[in-house]
Symmetry: C2
Subunit: 471 residues, 2 copies
């Protein structure tokens, strides 16, 4: 494609995206296609000859859009907000258009230095001390894997340089909460610890990790000759946005030499609000931290931030230095290939840089406060409605709720809950996420899409009551 | 940013990118900034109030562009081609603009199904049988890590469900070539094998793995009570584009139950040319394969493909299934979160889909054949020039060469090589990569940027001779 064709179709696509964002609110939030329907509507083999780009645009409307669930929809209350603020989208457009790679500092210096800069901007925005250094990765899953590998290597005296995990006498143990994200156990298993050495610590009535139970579990392992290695605490769990108590957890970690990794993937965004920072008091005592600006904050996916206090340790675990990547300035620059798993690196900093500059910190704070207000409003509405129950503290913008009409208990209640949640999603009017809390199904309402105003939350509340009353 | 502002600035950015691609050829290929220069030119703290997007565009020209090395430049001969074909760039623009996530099939069905479709298109394009299933990941580094973890779990009878690598009697061993990419050893170390259990197998005179040496090493480990686990073969090594002989390697793997992973990150693109497929004869006997369309083929970074023959094994190793990601159709669809490390997934298939459709397979083949012709032309030129030497077979589009004037040997020759290579890069006229081959520095010329025509290769050759003659 020539630059002139790119100009022509690029303008069409910008307009198409602008239109999509505008008309999104009128589309059914959740896709209604059946499994296999999208694939069956497209040719099974690639074309030998060029197709015009107009054909692609045609398929976009005919096949792709009906196959999407619309995360940028103002009545998207599923999973978590994955906000692609349009200023950030433009930053990503620059990155893709430039097509430069950061294999090393030298391979495109600005790519590395703007990444250093914006991760430091965000550090300041969430009130972390300058002892932290950050890097952009794809997802919290990857960063938590990196954190547990770094913990493994610290506890094992750099076993990777020798016999790895395969020559150890004392098994390394990882502590998680029963409410940790699925990626945490996955990371521990991928890092080779084994499920037998992953201890799920019970939670208190607010679904936060019980630090006393952690201390007991750590003590028991140590007494049995195992080696407590790492604890993953969550600031804002996926199901209920519970905050594990970092101060006492950090105390246990310090006493036993555990690596403390904090998963603040969703709730990290809230820390740009000074009034929320008490929720992660003790964060300065952690060793590593992951936080995803591609969620609530508005950076286009993927933009996950991984912060560490001991960057030298990270680099020692992750470094590779083949001759074709060496340069004469290597002792004076960061080579971000040594800060994570992938070698190749696109210019992801641009989307965060554009977001923060175009919005400004105060506007970002204002939007998050709007969402917190909306969550408090809905919480109050639900609490005053008979037979509806809020099941967990509403720490931020996620509500866990259930309709509990008289006579519905146990599995009958589960059937009722899944029934109305399914009808809500099938209506196309809103998208919510059913999940299990304790041993019963409930519904998560995650507020905070860019376009979600009070009217959309009110419409959701009407819809929930209407669909719950049908059964 | 409102859709209307997005329309306005989006058009500006499309035009800016089109201009950048047009004027790129006139820019110095390698950035001339000093370490810290870019960061120092930008504010150290984020703005409280919004800045206009015009200010961002100003900094782009003032600070960012001078800080880039231009991978899309027609005289970029460094590392490997990282082609962001403009049709693929537009596919990525759609993805970012849509802002949908594929946490599960249900969370945006088209995202998953188009990914299934295009990975199958590429499978057909490179002549693989339909026994292979593919998934898009970020980089070969990540896929090779996944492959070695899958190998670890197959050889250990799913140790992750028990004591992990920590309870094994017989150490698992991984075999690589001395010419394997740095990411291969890194993956083995991250997966917990330990460097003591990573065997670098020597190469033959063409820098390809010596399969007989592999057989001996595997036999010795087995005899010593260790458990040979996996071998990573490379189709197109980074330094010289050597092809490890897959047939005999697969024979060793079959005999000893090794997992065979093939790293075809760069050279996989060449397999859309039937005349090249003899280079990876035996590929059907591999267990897994990684190949990066974001290199030579032209998909905008990041777009790495990971293919496996036993998808069920992959899913069993990688699966997580928390309640908030379950849906009623899970037994009838692919949930790609279980095909790799990250949970979150953007609509990366669009950039491959747009590339293949807008170009058509024949035009992609034509461009790659152009680059192979250019490499053969340069090889012939170098071979007929006194004191210049081609150091490795030119299997595809990468040349390894050295200027060896009389009287320059050993370290003096290294100084000469690094001297002229540095002057070439500093000239801004071309970008080449010095690397160590054997124990001496040489220069890699990787041909295949989108805009690289014969005239650019000829200009490079003039430049090489001019700079080498200066010293």
């Amino acid at each position: 494609m020539t630059p002139d064709e790119f100009r022509h179709y690029g303008h069409l696509i910008v307009d198409w995206v602008a239109d999509y964002r505008e008309r999104c609110a009128a589309l059914p939030v959740m896709s209604r296609v059946a499994p296999g329907e999208v694939r069956a509507a497209l040719p099974a083999s690639p074309p030998s000859a060029p197709e015009g780009f107009d054909a692609i645009l045609g398929d976009l409307d005919r096949v792709i859009v009906p196959g999407l669930s619309h995360w940028q929809h103002p009545r998207f209350f599923g999973y978590f907000p994955s906000n692609g603020e349009l200023s950030s989208v433009l930053g990503d457009y620059l990155s893709t258009g430039l097509g430069v790679l950061g294999l090393s500092w030298q391979s495109s210096p600005a790519l590395t230095e703007v990444e250093e800069l914006v991760t430091d901007w965000v550090r300041q925005m969430v009130g972390l001390s300058d002892a932290w250094s950050g890097v952009i990765s794809d997802t919290a899953s990857s960063s938590t894997l990196v954190a547990l590998i770094c913990a493994r290597e610290r506890a094992s005296g750099f076993s990777l340089a020798g016999r790895g995990l395969q020559g150890r006498d004392a098994a390394l143990v990882v502590y998680v909460s029963s409410q940790s994200h699925s990626s945490v156990e996955k990371a521990a298993l991928l890092a080779g610890f084994g499920r037998a050495h992953v201890r799920p610590i019970p939670v208190d009535s607010a679904w936060a990790m019980d630090a006393a139970a952690l201390a007991r579990a750590v003590g028991e392992d140590a007494a049995a000759g195992r080696r407590p290695c790492a604890v993953v605490a969550t600031s804002g769990t996926t199901t209920t946005t519970a905050f594990d108590p970092l101060e006492p957890i950090a105390g246990v970690a310090a006493e036993h030499g555990l690596w403390l990794h904090v998963d603040a993937a969703m709730a990290g965004s809230a820390m740009i609000l000074p009034e929320c920072r008490d929720l992660w008091r003790g964060i300065e005592r952690a060793d590593s931290l992951v936080f995803n600006p591609h969620k609530w904050l508005g950076a286009a996916f993927d933009c996950s931030l991984y912060y560490v206090r001991d960057a030298e340790h990270l680099v020692r675990v992750m470094s590779t230095n083949p001759s074709y990547l060496q340069s004469s300035v290597d002792d004076r620059v960061r080579n971000l290939r040594d800060w994570g798993i992938p070698l190749g690196r696109r210019f992801r900093a641009l989307k965060l840089w554009c977001l923060i500059r175009e919005q400004g910190v105060e506007a970002l704070q204002g939007r998050l406060r709007r969402d917190l207000d909306n969550a408090r409003w809905l919480e109050a509405e639900v609490r005053r409605e008979p037979h509806w129950r809020i099941l967990a503290p509403v720490a931020l913008q996620t509500l866990c709720l259930r309709h509990e009409p008289p006579g519905r208990e146990g599995e009958a209640l589960d059937r009722h809950t899944l029934g109305w949640a399914t009808r809500v999603n099938a209506s196309g009017e809103a998208y919510v996420t059913p999940a299990v809390l304790g041993d019963r199904w409930m519904v998560r309402i995650s507020i905070g899409a860019l376009g979600t105003e009070r009217e959309h939350v009110a419409a959701l509340w009407d819809l929930l009551r209407r669909e719950a009353a049908r059964d």
